[in-house]
């Protein structure tokens, strides 16, 4: 596998390293605002991966919805609560060691399990795979019921968030 690395594989490795680095920054850094900025960079790098996987609409939605709206919401809450850099950010060293060990074990377990599993039947992709029309066709025919339920869920979320965040006055 490591014999001849093509351009796309080298690009994948570099981007993957950057993604892992920014994800680590999110969970390790002591300043919440820096964590949020690192989260934005992780999400944008993942959007690049989605582009490489022929999922253009999902990639651009990732940037619009996740990086452009959800993390802005996080930043707003952090600024409203005026969270400064935490002095004691993590639990005790025993917890950190145990969790790191557990995380590495989990990653190793999944990767080895995948290595042993049979590869899914590889199929070619048709024309227009990952385009807006293809995704929309699936959404409005085969997945219509989940689509409608999701819009209901969004409505419930809007009402719930406003109700929860309002100051209780009288």
């Amino acid at each position: 596998m490591v014999g001849a690395l093509g351009v796309s594989q080298v690009a994948f490795l570099i981007l993957a390293a950057l993604t892992v680095l920014s994800a680590l920054t999110v969970v390790v850094h002591r300043n919440p605002v820096h964590s949020a900025v690192a989260l934005v960079s992780t999400l944008c790098l993942l959007a690049l991966f989605f582009f490489a996987l022929d999922a253009q609409l999902v990639a651009i939605l990732q940037v619009i919805v996740y990086a452009g709206a959800i993390v802005v919401l996080f930043l707003f809450v952090i600024m409203l609560l005026n969270l400064q850099a935490q002095s004691r950010a993590t639990g005790g060293p025993l917890l950190v060691a145990a969790a790191t060990l557990g995380g590495v074990a989990l990653a190793g377990l999944v990767v080895s399990g995948l290595g042993r599993a049979a590869a899914p039947p590889a199929a070619g992709v048709g024309a227009g795979f990952g385009e807006t029309a293809a995704l929309a066709r699936e959404l409005f025919t085969a997945y219509l019921l989940p689509f409608e339920l999701t819009s209901l869920l969004l409505l419930v979320a809007i009402v719930g968030a406003v109700a929860l965040a309002k100051k209780a006055d009288g």
Binding site: V33, H34, V37, I60, I64, G68, L75, E131, T132
Partner: protein, 366 residues
Amino acid sequence: MAVDVAIAAAKALFIVLLVVQVMGLGVFFERKVSALIQDRIGANRAAIFGFAGLGLVNTLVADPIKFLLKEDVVPASSDRLLHSLAPILSLVPVLVTFAVVPFGDVLEVGGRVVNLQAAELSIGILYVLAMVSLGVYGVVLAGWASNSRWSLLGGIRGSAQMISYEIAMGLALIGIVLTYNTLDLQEMARAQGTLLWGWLPAWGILYQPIGFLIFMTAGIAESKRIPFDLPESESELVSGYFTEYSGPKHLMFMMSDFVEVVLVAALVTTLFFGGWQIPWLYRDGFHFPFGGAVALPSLAVAVLQVTSFALKLVFFTWLQIVIRWTLPRFRYDQLMRLGWQGLLPLALANVVVSALLIVLWSGRSA
């Protein structure tokens, strides 16, 4: 392969240069048009060997040099990394959006047909929305990182305003997407070359007048220009979210302000006013509906189209500057009320009515 890369690089360079020129022109207009509106002369003191060029030397030479040579002051208690990152996050997304704006139809050069658009994305319009969403970070981080109450207030107001008007902008774009049945800006510009009733070019403004008004308003609100400039409000918040910036970083914020003006102008042109289209000009020359045709080589057609695009850009930049110096600014609650209770229902109604009319008149279904 190498030729493809060279062509792509040339297109990208061309559009960036065009944008920077129009932005420079915009800055000059800002000084001179405001002076004309306010019955004064405007900046004309800086001169090179006595040549003041109507204030061109002042605006385009002296001002940038002044900004670049000023000392870069960073407040002591500020977050250095974010303080330096915020201007970049403000400027880069706005500049990068121009990659999907078409500035001409095609250019036949050496047997190749070159599409005059820097990046041919099938999801062009969504890319624009994505970059506009990323532009919020510049504001929010600038306000937070400066660690000063003027900046924080300006930053929070600015980002809340931007995300509110993003929604109205996106919904106004849905009407246009429904009309042209595509997300690609070049296809939309090409589709506006068809003729209604044999003589009227089918520009977007005829199909989506309400959409144009909503988009223009939302666009001016996104770029935080007067009448929506409360986050910056020079007379109230000192300088709002970029109070604590000086020197080159301040220049980057001002640049991003003007580049966004040009961006709104470019989008309005492409979506509603035909982009690079000149009425009755096709790839092989003019074909007038009342008879007569003028054959033109491909290069001449491309030059005419690029010129028409540039002129429309300059016109809409000028229009935004005139709007800036004419209207008073909105109070913050009026601003938010306009965005949520005015533009949003109007944009939703626009989408519903557009969809109904499309199904009924053109019989287009799924």
